[in-house]
Each structure stands twice: as structure tokens, then as C-alpha cells.
């Protein structure tokens, strides 16, 4: 009997101590109100490849604000793509300041993970000498819209190059031929090479539907509004028929999501639809023929329609659970201001969202950056919920595999209906 007792004593004691140990961490530092400089500790997450650049920005920030406070910023590694997952796993343990792509803003804001930047206006006025409106005016409209949820600004816009456009080899395809899918594909077929595009992804294949006037939007409960089985400027069936026509062209090659870099590197392609992340791969593969431009136009019925692209932005958010939210907001503002966006482009060729930086001649001299700017005139901000991805991915796969026949309008309609049903499904 005693043995069990000791055992349980041990068990309980460990439990109790471990629990109490947890409690002690909750002690609050009382804010420093006696006129001395407060000391502030902040944490920030950034991408691995940006660490060195970010550390430089942090050093500048600490110096800039050293007259107000002793700020120490600790930089952690976190990929933007997975930032949402890590933040939502434990919001209170997430960094005070973090970057994330625009398609995550609704998840983060509705989960209450983001600090409203509008609330930070007095802080920005007092310390940074600008208002929230100044921030909004300094960046392009799309990027500010992307950082806004429920009429509140939730993040500082940072980049505007998170979209796709057309890379091509100008030794194979002429500047005129890249203007439409028809000429592009026939030029590719003649050369024996292919035009590559990812169809099995709602991020890419939505571009055909957006071009035809269709839209998507997200409701507050995380569900998606979608009408692709209906009619906008053209009907969803017509758009699908155009997609099928492109996909079945011998000059076209559907590429699996995530396989684009490999395919470009393989040398089989003479043109590819991708984004800045594949710039190096394309440059290596196309050599001196490396060129980039906006997406071509495609035919719906017999009308030519310019293909739009989904444009994404990256932004810096402040953790709503951050204790030093004010200083965190100043840091977020600092690393997204004009100078730092310029530095981003100079160091890492990251396309800015700041209007003044975009006007800088170094942008128009850069092949990919100018293609981004060109495409952004035909850019759509994609606002969709989580249930959007799997059904649209499968729809793209069906098109890519040619499992639908272009003359089977009933079959196409049914596939569109099923996809729309899946996308609209309530989030449970």
C-alpha cells in the first residue's frame, strides 16, 4: 500500500510543481512610468533567406528609437507560408511582429491574432510622425485593400510581387507571339517545346474565371462566395471550354503544383507561368533569352480576353496578444516604410508595394519587377476561404487531364456545380 502512496506522491508532486512552475511565468512586468526610458523586449519572425537583411533593419530600428526606449528585438525564423499555422497553434506564444501573405489575413484577423493598426494611430503620430492614413496613401491601393479586413487595417503592406506572370525564352518566342495563347502555343509547338502552367491549383486556374468577370469573396464565417457555375461576362462553361482548348493543345504542358521549378530547369519549356520565386530557375534555363511579361490573352468563344492574374501581397502584422503592442507596431511600420522597402528590393529583389519605390527607375530596369508591375494592371486580389482550395484544385486537375470534353456542356456544367458546392460548403 505504501508503495502506491510514494508513487502517487511522486506523481502528484511532479504535476503540482510543473504546474506551479508554469504559473510563475505569468508575472507581469509593471510598466515603467517614472520618466526613465522603458526597456522593451520584442520578438519578430521572418523568412530564413531574409534573416541577414532583417537583422540589419532591426539594428536601424533599435538605433532610431533609442531615444524613447531600450528596445531589444529578437529575430526568429518562420517561413511566410507556414506563419499562419504556427501563429494559430498558440497565438500567445507567437512573435510580436511577423510577416505573412495576403491570403491569410482573414484567417488571422478573424481568429483575433492581428492587432488593429487603426488603433495604433496615436502611437504612430507620436513616435513616427505619421498617421495611419499616411501609411495607406504611401502604398498601392491593392496592397492596402489586401491588408484590410472588416474595414480595419490589420497589417502594414510590405511587398506586391506575390503573383504570377509569363516567363519566356525570347530566342524561341517573339515579343508579338507572347501576346495571345494561340500564337504562344503554336510557336511553342513549332519549336518542339512547351508552355507550362499549373492548372491543378485554385490560385492559378482562377485566373481564367477572373478574366471572364467572375469573382470570389469571403464571408465573415470563413465561407466563400463563388458563382463560377453561372454567368458573368461569359458563362462558366465557356471559360472551361477555353481552358480545355488550351490544355489539350500539343504545345501546352500542365504542371503539378510545386513542380514548376523542376520543369523550368528541365529545359522542356520555352515559356512558363510562375512568379518571382522562379526567376533564378527561368534565368538559368533561358539564358540570354530570359524575358518576362504579362499573361497572354485567350479566346472565349471568338472574343479575345486579356488573362488576369491573382496578385498577392505580403505584409507585416502585429500580434494582438503582444504586451508591448505599441512598440511592436512601430517596428512593423519601420521595416515596411519607404526606405526599408527600397532596401528590400536592392538586397533581395523583393517587389515593393510603396508607390514611390515602384516609380524608381531600378524597378523598370529589372525584367521580373517590370513584369510584375505590368501584370498588376490586370491583377485580381483573391479573397477566398479554406474550402476553396481542394475543390478548385481537383477541377483544375480534371481539366489538365482532359477528363472533360469541350463539347460536353452538360458534363462541364455538372463539374462546375460540384466544385461550387464544395467551395461554398460551410466551415464546420
Amino acid at each position: 500500500m505504501n508503495k502506491k502512496r510514494i508513487l502517487s506522491v511522486l506523481l502528484c508532486a511532479t504535476m503540482a510543481t510543473s504546474i506551479f512552475a508554469g504559473c510563475t511565468q505569468k508575472q507581469n512586468q509593471s510598466p515603467n512610468n517614472n520618466g526613465e526610458k522603458p526597456s522593451v523586449n520584442l520578438t519578430m519572425w521572418g523568412q530564413e533567406q531574409d534573416q541577414q537583411m532583417l537583422q540589419g533593419m532591426i539594428d536601424d530600428f533599435e538605433k532610431e528609437y533609442s531615444k524613447y526606449a531600450d528596445i531589444k528585438v529578437e529575430l526568429g525564423v518562420q517561413s511566410d507560408a507556414k506563419a499562419r499555422d504556427r501563429i494559430l497553434t498558440d497565438q500567445e506564444a507567437a512573435a510580436d511582429v511577423f510577416s505573412f501573405p495576403s491570403d491569410r489575413i482573414q484567417d488571422l484577423a478573424s481568429a483575433g491574432a492581428l492587432q488593429s493598426i487603426d488603433d495604433m494611430s496615436p502611437v504612430l503620430e507620436q513616435y513616427a510622425g505619421k498617421t495611419v492614413d499616411d501609411v495607406k496613401k504611401a502604398n498601392i491601393e491593392g496592397s492596402v485593400e489586401a491588408a484590410t479586413y472588416d474595414n480595419t487595417l490589420y497589417a502594414f503592406p510590405m511587398t506586391a510581387d506575390n503573383g504570377y506572370f509569363l516567363y519566356y525564352d525570347k530566342n524561341v518566342i517573339s515579343e508579338d507571339e507572347v501576346k495571345s495563347w494561340d500564337t504562344l502555343l503554336s510557336a511553342a509547338e513549332k519549336s518542339g517545346k512547351k508552355v507550362g502552367m499549373i492548372l491543378a491549383s485554385g490560385w492559378y486556374n482562377a485566373s481564367f474565371f477572373y478574366s471572364a468577370g467572375f469573382t470570389t469573396s469571403q464571408n465573415k464565417d470563413g465561407t466563400t462566395n463563388i458563382d463560377w457555375n453561372g454567368t458573368a461576362d461569359y458563362s462558366g462553361v465557356e471559360v472551361t471550354q477555353s481552358m480545355l482548348k488550351i490544355a489539350s493543345n500539343p504545345g501546352f504542358m500542365p504542371i503539378a503544383d510545386g513542380d514548376m521549378s523542376n520543369q523550368i530547369a528541365s529545359g522542356k519549356l520555352c515559356a512558363a507561368i510562375s512568379g518571382t520565386w522562379d526567376a533564378n530557375a527561368a534565368q538559368t534555363a533561358f539564358g540570354d533569352g530570359f524575358a518576362a511579361t504579362k499573361l497572354p490573352s485567350f479566346k472565349i468563344g471568338d472574343k479575345d480576353v486579356q488573362q488576369k492574374a491573382v496578385v498577392g501581397y505580403k505584409m507585416i502584422g502585429v500580434n494582438a496578444h503582444s504586451k508591448n503592442a505599441g512598440w511592436a507596431a512601430l517596428l512593423a511600420d519601420f521595416i515596411t516604410n519607404e526606405d526599408q522597402q527600397k532596401a528590400r528590393f536592392e538586397i533581395r529583389q523583393i517587389g515593393p508595394s510603396n508607390k514611390k519605390v515602384l516609380e524608381d527607375p531600378m524597378i523598370s530596369e529589372n525584367i521580373t519587377a517590370s513584369a510584375v508591375v505590368e501584370q498588376s494592371k490586370f491583377g485580381v486580389r483573391q479573397d477566398v476561404g479554406n474550402n476553396f482550395w481542394a475543390p478548385t484544385k481537383t477541377f483544375g486537375e480534371i481539366v489538365a487531364k482532359g477528363q472533360l470534353k469541350a463539347d460536353d456542356t452538360a458534363g462541364i456544367q455538372k463539374a462546375l456545380d460540384t466544385m461550387v458546392e464544395g467551395v461554398k460548403a460551410p466551415i464546420e
Partner: protein, 481 residues
Amino acid sequence: MKTVTNKFSNIFDSIMSGLSKYKEAIVKGDLFVKLSFLWMGAGYFRRKQYIKSLIITLFEIAVLVFTFTFAIQYVPKFGTLGTVKQESVFNPITMQKEFNNYDNSFQILLFSLVSFIVWAIFLVVYIRNIYRQYQLQLDEQNGKAPEKFKDYMNKFLNSKFHITLLALPVLGISLFIIIPLIAMIFVAFTNYDQKHMPPTELFTWVGFNNFVQLFGGGGITSTFGYAFVRVLIWTLVWAVFATFTTYIGGILLASLINNKRVKLKKMWRTLFVITIAVPQFVSLLLVKNFFADGGIVNTICANIGLIDWLRDIGMINTTYIPFLTSPGWAHVMVILINIWVGVPYQMLIATGVLMNLPNDQIESARMDGANSFQIFRHITMPYVLFITGPALVTDFVRNINNFNVIFLLTNNTYTTSNQALANSQAKEIDLLVTWLFTLTRDNYNYKMAAVIGIVVFVISAVCTLVVFKRLTSGDKEGAYR
């Protein structure tokens, strides 16, 4: 069945006898036994066992402190899992955010659970303690000297050494397995999902709603039930094939290497074991690249004209063989690749067993004119099966949950073209656990993931029990002794 009822009545009897002992202790105990209802160390104190008295008193105080400083914050809210939503205001003067005293549903759930466990342990200790005090009283009346503390502690190094040894593992299992497991089971009965994510939002109990939804009660998506059945069927098919192919493959390979005519036995074995030494995810990612749509195997197949031939006979309509990207092909491929990954393990086990194969049986069979196949079929195989039966069961359960092979081979590259499955975030190639992973990772659907987790657990448990029972039933045991 009889043994089960017996077991139950045994437990029942021991509870009853425990209670009657307890009753006896209450009625016949002296003042200090009765005092130990309040002060657990009273009896020990009276019998001059001061150290034990101190320890048990400290334990009692610790539990009391735990209850009134910690548990009291959470347990009263366990019924609702919290009612106060988080609110905050920013104070521009201090530059800090001020939060209200909000409830965190998950903390309430988890810490209430911890409290319950602490109390359950306390209750057991408490009841046993009273009984123990009464025992001490009886010992004293019979003139037996009370045990010295040093002797008592020495027991833990001698006759009760197993307790000392097991203390840490038991503690570890409770902390890292039992508590999370029960917490997960609790989550299955709540609405913990993307819309109810602490600390910003609260979640609460919903009873059996999630289970009703899973089994076709409407809700989530109209195809969820369909997807569940499809995924479940493939999970079971996969588990059966993955288990038996590697098992039989391993035995065949082991007997091959064991054969007298094979030279360099040790080298062959080492070669196969090396494949184990390479981490599974490395080899699987390599294999995934080999068999990718534009991978090296496809290039070879194209060069030797295999792809054209397959297109001619209508097996494929793509310019590549969709080894890991289309249903059917992918299903076969993952099983084949799993053989390649899993056979060396089974070979090692089978080698050990084959080396201990009773030679007399084989000799006599050979004298009776049995050929090698007959020997394999009637002596080797049943013997190996008997020895490794339990391992086979664990393998089966492991394969039901074989996340690595499926996920590493098909993640990000396999795209379903079945719209009904896609609408429920599933793919033809998904096992229950990989589907569960998608549901939780991409959609934060913790509650449904918990429900599926419970279902997987039940399936695994039932399979294990049934197969174990059959494999280790009495008569078979006799046959190979």
C-alpha cells in the same frame, strides 16, 4: 466470455471487500484513525512514524493548495468551458495592451482534466491511508513494533524494487500519453474548430453531434460520410496488403539467404540492413522523385518505348506513367514501395526465427520424402507464423496508421480528380491518419480530427484483440511446443 465476467466479479468483490474494510476502519478505529479523516498524518504521528506522517501531511497540504489556488480557477468552468470572451484595449500612454480576465476554453479543459487526475489519485491515497492507519492500530494492539522508516525505504531497493523502477515510466506515460489522450477524447465532444479558437473565441460541449455528423447526419459537407467510407476501405486494404506483402517477402528473403547454397550470407544481410539505416523520409523522398511524372523512371520508360506501348493498349492517356499521381497506379505503387522499405525489417525478424527452427522436424520431414516447398509450407511457415504472430498484429495496426509512406510519397503531388472526395478535403490515396492530418493542419478542424482519431483507435483496438485472440488460442500453442 466467462473469463470476462469472472474478471468483472473479481473487481467487484475486491471493491466490496475494500469498502467493508473501510467501514470496519471507521467503526473500530481509535481517535487517531478517525482524526486521519482530516489530518492524513494523524495515525502515523500517534504510532511515532514521524517521517511518514510528515510526507503524507505535506502531500495533503500540496493537494489542498493545488485545489484552492489552481484547480478552483478552472474546474468550476468545466461545465461550460468558459463564458467570458477575450476583450482588450490599447493604452497609448504605456504603449501596452490591457486584457480583461478572459476564459481560455482549452486551458479550462486541460487543467480541469489535470485536476481530476490529481483528485482521483488523492482519493485513492486517502482511502488507503485510513485503512493503513487502522492496520497500524491493530498492529499496535497485537504488540507488533511499527516498521521503521529506513526499513520501509529499503524495501524499495529490495522487495519492492519494481516500484522504484516503474515510477518514472508511469509518470512519463501519464503526463505524455494518458493526459493528452483523454484531452483529445474530450475535444471530440466539443466544437473546437476554426471558428472557435482559443484564446480569442470560446468553445463548448456539443455532446455526440460530431459523431452524428461523421456517420452521415448531415452537417459539414454532403460528401463527408462518403469520403470517410472511401478512406476507411482503402486504409484497411492498405493495412492488409502492406502487412502481408512485407511479412511474406521478409520470410522468403530470409529463407533464401539462409539457404545452404547461398554464399556470403553476412554480406547480403548487411546490404539489406543498410537500407534500414537510411532514414525513411530520405529514401522515400528519393523514391518519390524517381517515380515523379517527369522523374528518372518515366524517362527510362519513355526511352525503351514502354510508355508508347501502354498508351497503345489504353492503360494510360498521358505522356508519362502517373506512378504516384493517379488512383490505381498510386495505390499499387505505394504498396510496392512499402515492400521495398519494409522487407528488411521483416527479414531480420524472420532470420532470427529461422535460425532457431527445430532441425529434427525438418530432418524427419525430409526423410519422409517432403520436398523443400512442402517443408516451407508445412513446417517453416507455421512455425514462423506462430512465433511472429503478435508482431504481425502490431504491424497491422502500425500500417493502419502508417503516415510516413503515404504522406511522403504523395503529399503535394497527388491531386484527386474525384470532386466528391475533394469537397471533403480527402484523396483516394489518403489513409485515415493522413486525412486527419489535412483536416487539422489546413482547416483547424480539431473536433472532427479527434472523432476520426477515436474511430481509428477503435478499429485498431478491435483488430488487435480479434487477431491476438485467434493467433494465441490454446490448441495452436500446443501444436508447436
